[in-house]
């Protein structure tokens, strides 16, 4: 079975008039015994209809919290959205009641989680679970919802959907469960699909199936996707636009090829450089190159960071980087970065930083 993944990189990106989701200066804090954790600290982006936006970063960078904030799933009392706005199709979500959010969640915005087994109810058949959301949101009757559930299972290419609809989650393989999750998420034709590490728990061959399926369905149904991942390989093959997050902040945003070929922020450069690359052909034996390391540790989000959060680990850092937070500004067409030293970094050859030495 062959297919190509050219669509992702070449499809036209919608203009501003077509924005479906707009996040402005989102800040989400968590309250712990040891103080306030600034999990998301000023995130701003627009998502166009039918666009695929990837949010990439390492664990603890705030990418998943951003997703939970959009869906209004921040557990009350433990955390809250302290400022910012999330506008979805003209509606402000941050001030919406829980009741309103429930009618939007799973209906017009859906989510796919990393671990399909824990997000599926083990005592209901998958058919029941898909039809349940259809009955709640679309007010379909039992019969129609069940038929639509089978239709959805067929859409996500589950073989023999009639039989599978009557099975329980534990009877399915990991890949099939994730397909069921996608079927559930897409059942109500959402305008936005938020996928939080949807393929991280899956094997590569299954991951390829699932990513392919998601992109194909996106093209067919016109759903905009926010894909959250730590894997730049996944980003490269699925995204149109990428946001890189670090310590709760956005450090860079650009169209995917621009970001991978011409990263401006030192963190993005470090991240790309630290990935072992598949080489085409090459010398005998292993290529003894050293991977680029990002020295040091991720800062604690409990203390406010006055300057650039990456400064303590950055080889380009100047005193200003420690004290003054760099603005998130354009450094090229549709290419934004939050860094004081972009000019100096651009002078350093990207090759020198990124490609592994031979």
């Amino acid at each position: 079975m062959k297919s190509n993944v050219s669509t992702a990189a070449t499809a036209p990106i919608a203009t501003n008039g077509d924005t479906i989701l707009s996040v402005q200066d989102l800040r989400t804090h968590f309250y712990t015994r040891d103080g306030v954790v600034r999990a998301v600290d000023g995130v701003t982006f627009d998502l166009a209809r039918g666009e695929t936006l990837c949010i990439v970063g390492e664990s603890g960078c705030g990418k998943s919290v951003t997703a939970l904030s959009i869906l209004g799933l921040i557990p009350p009392k433990i955390g809250e959205i302290v400022s910012g706005s999330i506008r979805f199709d003209g509606t402000e979500l941050t001030t919406e009641s829980e009741r309103e959010m429930r009618s939007i969640r799973g209906n017009r915005i859906s989510m796919i989680f990393q671990e399909p087994m824990t997000s599926l109810n083990p005592v209901l058949t998958v058919g029941e679970q898909i039809s349940e959301s259809l009955r709640i949101h679309q007010r379909l009757d039992r019969r129609a919802a069940w038929d639509r559930a089978i239709e959805m299972l067929a859409l996500v290419r589950i073989a023999d959907p009639k039989r599978r609809a009557g099975e329980y989650p534990h009877q399915l393989s990991g890949g099939m469960r994730q397909r069921v999750m996608i079927a559930m998420a897409l059942a109500c034709n959402p305008q936005v699909l938020v996928a939080d590490e949807p393929t991280t728990a899956l094997d590569v061959t299954i991951q390829a199936q699932i990513l392919n399926l998601m992109l194909e369905l996106k093209d067919r149904l016109g759903t905009a996707i926010v894909l959250i991942t730590h894997d730049l390989g996944v980003v490269a093959e699925t995204a149109q636009r990428v946001i890189v997050m670090y310590a709760g902040r956005m450090v860079e945003e650009a169209p995917v090829r621009e970001l991978l070929n011409n990263p401006k922020h030192p963190y993005t450069r470090g991240l790309i450089g630290s990935i072992p690359r598949r080489k085409s052909g090459g010398a005998r034996g292993r290529t003894r190159g050293r991977l680029q390391e990002i020295s040091g540790l991720v800062p604690s989000l409990r203390e406010p960071i006055p300057g650039c959060a990456f400064a303590p680990r950055c080889s380009f850092a100047t005193p200003r980087c420690i004290t003054e937070q760099p603005p998130f500004e354009a450094h090229g067409p549709r290419h934004f970065a939050a860094c004081w030293e972009v000019a100096r970094i651009e002078a350093t050859s990207s090759d020198q930083l990124v490609s592994s030495p031979t």
């Binding site: 079975m1 093959e237 072992p276 598949r278 034996g285």
Partner: protein
């Protein structure tokens, strides 16, 4: 490389897990987690075992260390068959073979200090005591890039990458000739993963260590491996030098794995093979070639004949009926 001495020789290793069912818990079937795996590793060499979850790669690692008792086969460590050893003799052999685990959180005892954790193997083999022990621990910390002051800290005070460094220091403590690393970087973030991979490579060069490196990540494997064995459903389907395996994969499964792994450089459309379906259950593996249910090039013969792992080019072994010795495409005629 080929002239170096063999550190580990595994011959026809099998590990079958019985499946119990019913009130009397009778054995109704066996999960053939590992079903006839053979390879050798030489001093200073890294052999990578790569495959998807459930292919048996971790079971191979655990059987070699006898954390699982192998069902059949021999495991020779520096010429000694350790499958036949009693527990005390095995314990003595463990000095030559240390392990690094996947999860840097659960593989360190939370109640022991970092120094105690790293020093434990030294105490086990009575290699050092008192001030000498402390000195050697400090030296190990230095080797893996941890500050010597950290000896008194507890595991929860370290980050994931630092914990994995502790795990590596523990493995290094008794100067083993072989380190078995079971997914040592898959729980780590990429930037930390890079640090740990660099450290492993540096240590290998410094101490001339042999690594058995188990991973599901092809990019990591290509980076660190000298030779690579691809496993599918308990068998090795392809075993070759790094460059040969990644440059000219001969088994359709290897080909599909390479195609499935996402890469950064996708300029323009990329032809990719997407395998259909899921991995069959190892309890009831398919007849003939185990890959035939998902193979895009399947032949009628594949359903009946179990292909042996044959050397088709120098150092390049493959188990596929379509890759007979000396040929590159035509099906092998079965006499």
């Amino acid at each position: 490389m080929s002239s170096a001495e063999v550190v580990l020789r595994v011959k026809d290793l099998k590990k079958h897990f019985p499946v119990h069912r019913g009130v009397l818990s009778r054995v109704v079937a066996h999960v053939q987690a590992v079903d006839g795996v053979s390879f050798e590793i030489r001093r200073g060499e890294t052999l990578c075992l790569v495959g998807e979850s459930g292919c048996g790669k971790s079971t191979v690692a655990r059987s070699i260390t006898r954390l699982e008792e192998p069902t059949a086969g021999t495991i020779e460590l520096n010429g000694v068959d350790i499958t036949a050893l009693n527990s005390e003799a095995l314990r003595a052999q463990r000095r030559e073979m240390q392990m690094v685990f996947q999860d840097p959180y659960s593989s360190l005892n939370p109640r022991l200090s970092a120094g105690d954790i790293v020093g434990e193997p030294l105490t086990n083999f009575d290699l050092a005591q008192g001030a000498e022990l402390e000195q050697r621990i400090a030296k190990l910390f230095e080797h893996v890039g941890l500050r010597p002051e950290a000896v008194n800290k507890y595991p929860h005070e370290f980050s994931g990458g630092q914990r994995q460094r502790l795990g590596i220091a523990r493995a290094l403590a008794v100067n083993p000739s072989l380190i078995i690393a079971d997914e040592p970087v898959s729980a780590l973030d990429v930037s930390v993963q890079a640090q740990v991979l660099n450290l492993l490579i540096d240590l290998q060069e410094e101490f001339n260590l042999a690594y058995l490196f188990v991973s599901h990540d092809l990019a990591v494997v290509e980076h660190i491996g000298h030779r690579v064995a691809v496993m599918y459903l308990g068998r090795i389907v392809e075993l070759a030098d790094n460059a040969d395996l990644f440059g000219t994969p001969l088994h359709p499964y290897t080909e599909a794995l390479l195609a499935a792994a996402p890469v950064l450089e996708v300029d323009g459309p990329r032809e990719r093979i997407i395998l259909q379906g899921d991995v069959p259950s190892p309890m009831n593996p398919p007849s003939g070639c185990r890959f035939h249910t998902r193979c895009p090039y399947v032949l009628p013969e594949c359903k009946r004949t179990d292909p042996p792992l044959l050397e088709v080019a120098p150092g390049h072994h493959v188990a596929c009926l379509r890759r007979p010795v000396g040929d590159s495409g035509a099906p092998l005629s079965i006499a």
